[in-house]
Symmetry: C2
Subunit: 337 residues, 2 copies
Amino acid sequence: MSMQTGKQSICFETPPYIVSSASIVGKKEGEGPLGACFDLIGEDDKFGQDTWEEAESTLQKEAFGMAVGKAGLKKEEIRYLFSGDLLGQNIATSFGLMDYQVPLFGLYGACSTCGEALSLGAMCVAAGYADYVVAMTSSHFASAEKQFRFPLEYANQRPMSATWTVTGSGAYVLGKRKSNACITGITTGKIIDYGIKDSMNMGAAMAPAAADTICQNLKDFGRRPEDYDHIITGDLGSVGREILIDLLKKEGYDISEMHLDCGMLIYESKAQGTGAGGSGCGCSAVTLAGHFLKQVEQGKLQRILFVPTGALLSTVSFNEGKTVPGIAHGVVIEHAD
Amino acid sequence: MSMQTGKQSICFETPPYIVSSASIVGKKEGEGPLGACFDLIGEDDKFGQDTWEEAESTLQKEAFGMAVGKAGLKKEEIRYLFSGDLLGQNIATSFGLMDYQVPLFGLYGACSTCGEALSLGAMCVAAGYADYVVAMTSSHFASAEKQFRFPLEYANQRPMSATWTVTGSGAYVLGKRKSNACITGITTGKIIDYGIKDSMNMGAAMAPAAADTICQNLKDFGRRPEDYDHIITGDLGSVGREILIDLLKKEGYDISEMHLDCGMLIYESKAQGTGAGGSGCGCSAVTLAGHFLKQVEQGKLQRILFVPTGALLSTVSFNEGKTVPGIAHGVVIEHAD
């Protein structure tokens, strides 16, 4: 199989390894079903800072430091950083990571950013452009609500289809040094617009993009859904999951058995009042790092398709009556002996 | 010289070619000193749309179509798109390019985006991940003023250090197919913060980042400034240029002879009332495509260092009293016979 695989995928001849990862979350995520698997749980969602934006920057700073430390590396050994976040002008990334003085590729893929960062990071390492890179992202409930919806002080009500932005950051060191998990391929997503105009129903906006990327991944690699132990979307939530499964059935693929959604795993929805599930760049980033990656490393999972999903929501375009298009980037992660 | 060159550069063993480029600008840019060199000049800065954001999206749509057409390619032959813009959540990119249905890596590098897109695009082609990609970006005076400063209707006064956001989009098809210009190396920038807190003096915020990237490029490639016919920054303007030259003199490099700044070339500053010069992602993107690249293709310039400069300005962080850090990405472009 050549590197250029099918219409929009890459198969790595020498797969880059996920050398280490780190996950940091807020209090609510720590109280959720996956709480025990995260590296660090903040007791205060401001993480000792004055503003929500500084809190999110601190999440990135800590996650980077922890991932690099776990890999036994110094920051000087990280050649490039691939990171982005949900805030306008990527301020969580810029202010969180600038002290490390690592050359930065700033990314914007909404909540698909973890997939975009892992894809570009893997491409960079596999091509020999770097021995080690860090791919990472973050989100924060309070900074995201301020950016996209209502200030928390309004205490506005939320419909059940709304999701809850995860406070958290996940970071990954990718490199040529052998570990027990590697990235064997990627499928880069296109922007898909189904005309959704409800900023409280992001799952419906993202499901068609997830379906498109998963379908294309299966075609490009000549696989069936059951060739993956799990197909894991980022933050579709319960509403988006139904749409995804329906859309893929129409394409002849039944993924209902092996599909999981990070947004549905990270909270106990009813007890925690999180609506349709978790969302935000941090949602898939911490769930992969804390939960799934460990199972891949241990060999409990042999091959997964990780598909972070992004809703390209902007208050400006939204207020101008535009739709919310979606995008999803697929990353194939496999156990390595 | 290995691919990993020095501390933060890459030298391409098989340099990717710039197969074609396209530049589209607004009325004011068309009336400036470089007016004659652009492919298309809009008569109406709304480009037939209802909003400034839609106008900027139209710029990207047209620039992509024109660049791909000039290369004699179909949109289906473009494997990946690397693009971003200044607006929150990259809406000019998302809405401008989604109809093409090309897999997209969304970028955010403020006004350094053209350098970031060309860097990642060149890495992608040189590694064999794609036969053709498009790297592009845009900015629009009115959508940027609305995003970052004051609505145009306020008619607020501007200090002389302020720059004028260029209305324009530049697009580049990169590929393995031979042309008369190629990208032989890149130097990826770090975030540099000199503590500037004046959103009306972006040149000062970006100059230290430009100095850092240029200095690192010269060290990594073992070159002197005179090894480049020109060292071309993005949008420092006249205020930023002075700072850049001073900073590099302290490092032992005198670039006053070969330095040019796209922001200082694109307008006749006094006559057009544009303060310290042009700025925005589109500024360097259209000036390279319309002006410098043609000279490289013709062999009038043998080797240039193109360094788009970005000020990581956000209204949220700015209003919270934060500084405006800068970043700059260097791209080495050479004539090919």
